[in-house]
């Protein structure tokens, strides 16, 4: 396939890079501020609240006000912190997230750079960000931060595996690792139809990579009180925050491109630049809303449950998906078999999660008390209880 031309074409390589950086940072900052506002509003709607209402009409400028406040705050560093690591840790989270942005195409002709190994590059680069959490947790000289950093390292490394494997399964079907070629493949049917199991694994792994509920274990507010970020304030804290929302955007964009057909499905490659852009962003927004919805309706898993969920459920399932894909593709069976096998895998996943997890709800026993009765029972063990009836 021919390489499409990049949207930004400037002769001077340095100027080109500079413009690219400006575009990424500028766009991402705006997107992140918008995302924070949207998340707060959606959360408020889910929780019978209004959300931000004060700054600007319906609170639209709240994120800007918060950003300005954070920039104006003092950049505190604990006296016992490891100075250089503490100060550099936010960059170790911030930079990989923004690097991933380079390879992601928005439309057929619009991307900072069209890489042949785009998918590989994106997962490789975003996988680096765990280092920043570990560094921040270690350098803060705080036990909560240390716990959080260790949790982050364990979680992000574990979930990198199913994430990569699910994307690998997709690229097997599409026959390419270049993101624009994967989108081109989805001209008629988006890949989520052929690979529902891979999509499920992708969503679960992305939730963990983003450290959002139900996998917000490293930063668990009610346990380790913010985890690695506990000692950070002002601009450094806001860099972590920016990076976390930027990754939300990037992973959603990746999901929209890889699974939901990006700009290509259902309009086809002939649609204009703006229509393609709108279509990509609409699909991205759909995934973002899904992540927000999940965040505000699920409690948090425990670290051991998280790890066993990854290693005992997600990774075997993603290997299963790859094996099934290999079977179908090697023997050249029609694509419908991809759907059938992957759908069966998804049903299996549902069964495993529902049945093996020992999570069927219980009911209480009810001991009736009837009016007029003067009871004189004494403290008795349950087997001594009389008049018990099941609920």
């Amino acid at each position: 396939m021919s390489m499409p031309s990049a949207g930004i074409n400037i002769e001077n390589a340095w100027l080109d890079a500079f413009v690219g950086v400006i575009v990424i940072v500028g766009l991402m900052t705006v997107v992140v501020m918008a995302l924070i506002y949207i998340e707060r509003k959606v959360a408020a709607r889910m929780q019978n609240r209004l959300g931000p209402m004060r700054v600007g009409p319906h609170g639209t400028l709240q994120s800007l006000a918060d950003a300005l406040k954070l920039i104006g705050k003092e950049d505190l560093r604990p006296a016992t912190a490891d100075r250089w690591i503490f100060e550099l840790a936010p960059f170790a989270v911030f930079v990989p997230t923004f690097l991933a942005f380079i390879a992601i195409p928005f439309t057929q002709n619009l991307a900072i750079s069209f890489l042949d190994l785009g998918l590989f590059y994106v997962v490789a680069v975003t996988g680096l960000s765990f280092l920043g959490f570990l560094l921040a947790g270690w350098a803060s000289d705080n036990k909560y931060a240390l716990l959080g950093g260790m949790r982050a390292a364990a979680q992000l490394i574990s979930y990198e595996v199913p994430l990569v494997l699910s994307l690998l399964a997709v690229s097997m079907v599409a026959g390419s690792l270049a993101l624009h070629e994967i989108v081109e493949f989805q001209g008629r049917v988006p890949l989520v139809v052929w690979q529902p199991l891979a999509f499920f694994i992708f969503i679960a792994a992305v939730l963990a990579e983003l450290e959002r509920q139900p996998f917000d274990i490293p930063t668990a507010e009610s346990e380790v009180v913010g985890g690695p970020f506990i000692e950070y304030s002002g601009i450094r804290w806001s860099m972590f925050f920016l990076a976390s929302y930027a990754s939300l955007f990037i992973y959603s964009l990746l999901g929209a491109i890889v699974f939901l057909g990006g700009w290509n499905w259902p309009l086809g490659a002939e649609a204009g630049l703006w229509l393609q852009l709108i279509w990509t962003f609409a699909k991205t927004s759909l995934l973002i809303l899904l992540f927000i919805w999940i965040r505000f309706s699920f409690p948090r898993l425990r670290i051991d449950q998280l790890m066993s969920y990854c290693w005992k459920v997600l990774i075997p399932l993603s290997f299963l998906q790859i094996f099934l894909n290999g079977l179908v593709l090697v023997y050249g069976w029609p694509h419908i078999f991809l759907l059938l096998t992957s759908g069966a895998g998804l049903a299996l996943a549902g069964y495993i999660i529902a049945r093996v997890g020992q999570t069927e709800p219980r009911k209480v026993r009810l001991i009736p008390v009837r009016g007029g009765r003067k009871a004189t029972a004494s403290l008795t063990a349950p087997e001594g209880a009389e008049g018990g009836s099941s609920a």
């Binding site: 959360a43 509920q213 380790v224 009180v225 409690p299 009810l366 008390v369 007029g372 009871a375 403290l379």
Partner: protein
């Protein structure tokens, strides 16, 4: 020769509280952890100690009521009930029937608000980002409005008096409560649907912090904590006070005594409280709300009394020693939170840090009640 160095691992102490989002007040526990596993817990209490029992010795029997609102600030009516019952026992005051019914209605509504608070906060302890809390608080607010209309106060009601209640309820009280109860039922249904069958909620709470019936009795646990372990002990059933022997209701008991059972028991208790309130509204008689011959200054004969009610957290008891006069010689509060909290170490050791938070949340402590 390569020198082999063994990596040394140490247990670290984590100081959780007194400023921590999930210790429900100024409670501090020092966790000794081996990685994520808790191997020892040392609870520290006393940050909220205000010497209330001593203060009560210097207040006459009516002034002492105000202090009862400030121990367990989520079940104020129930505490006032216990205190008034003790004083009535001591001074042999007869409570008019209407006052008894009003007390029961308000106490059961108060139990609902307290359990709603628990359900909401428990969701946060398990990591739900405030959704359960907002829903629980909306329902709680409707009932809180009724309390405000009745007593004129939002939190420190001071509405019960030895011998009855201070003034009669507003005219539309019965109608207002009848209006609110369906809303509460709907709200409880919402919370039930949000939490009870939630896969992750069940995974996090099932089998965590289980305590056997024998241990629960040995530690002196009462209330939902005890009933979750399968012991059907409820003072409303076993030592019926006030007019509780006139209502049909069920006592929910659990089976395993784990965090999930405690949640289920509390959720079911709210439904049972609604049942009691509905029956009490049906039976609510007209009549006086205070005894006709109430002395201006309440003087008690010498003696010792103990009166206890089934608070939302367990047995809330008041022990009064009187040497005559208008003030108690000594007043002791048997607070359920304190006794329930004492089993924390037994329940927590061997669990994960995240479970420690869930277990502490499931005890449903009020620190003002623990320290008094």
């Amino acid at each position: 020769m390569v020198q082999q160095q063994e990596l040394e691992t140490v247990d670290i102490n984590i100081n959780m509280g007194p400023q921590h989002p999930s210790t429900h007040g100024v409670f501090r526990m020092v966790l000794t952890v081996d990685g994520e596993k808790v191997i020892d817990v040392e609870p520290h209490i006393g940050y909220m100690h205000r010497g209330g029992e001593k203060l009560s010795e210097n207040m006459d029997y009516r002034q002492g009521i105000g202090y009862q609102d400030r121990t367990d600030y989520l079940t104020q009516f129930l505490n006032e009930q216990a205190y008034c019952m003790a004083v009535e026992k001591l001074t042999k005051l007869e409570v008019p029937e209407r006052a008894e019914y009003l007390r029961v209605i308000l106490c059961e509504l108060n139990r609902i608000t307290s359990h709603l608070m628990f359900i909401g906060a428990f969701g946060i302890d398990l990591g739900l980002f405030g959704t359960s809390f907002m829903y629980a608080f909306r329902e709680r607010e409707y009932i809180q409005d009724i309390f405000e209309e009745v007593s004129g106060e939002r939190m420190m009601y001071g509405y019960f008096r030895p011998g009855g209640v201070v003034w009669d309820v507003p005219e539309n009280f019965v109608q207002r409560v009848r209006e609110v109860l369906p809303q509460t039922k709907q709200g409880l249904k919402d919370l039930d649907m949000l939490l009870t069958n939630n896969e992750i909620f069940v995974a996090r709470s099932k089998g965590v912090g289980a305590i056997s019936a024998e241990d629960a009795i040995d530690w002196g646990l009462t209330g939902p904590m005890l009933r979750a372990s399968g012991v059907p002990w409820d003072l409303r059933k076993d030592q019926p006070y006030s007019v509780y022997d006139r209502f049909d209701f069920d006592i929910p008991i659990g089976q395993y005594g784990d965090v999930y059972d405690r949640y289920l028991v509390r959720l079911e208790e709210t439904h049972q409280s609604i049942r009691i309130v509905e029956q009490a509204l049906e039976q609510l008689p007209e009549g006086p709300i205070l005894p006709e011959k109430l002395p201006r200054k309440l003087r008690a004969p010498e003696g010792e009394v103990y009166a206890a009610v089934e608070n939302a957290r367990g047995e809330y008891g008041i022990y009064i020693v009187s040497k005559g006069g208008d003030k108690p010689y000594r007043l002791k509060i048997r607070s359920p939170s304190f006794s329930n909290l004492s089993a924390l170490r037994t329940m927590t050791i061997g669990n994960y840090i995240a479970d420690a938070v869930a277990i502490l949340g499931s005890v449903d402590i009020v620190l003002c009640d623990v320290d008094r």
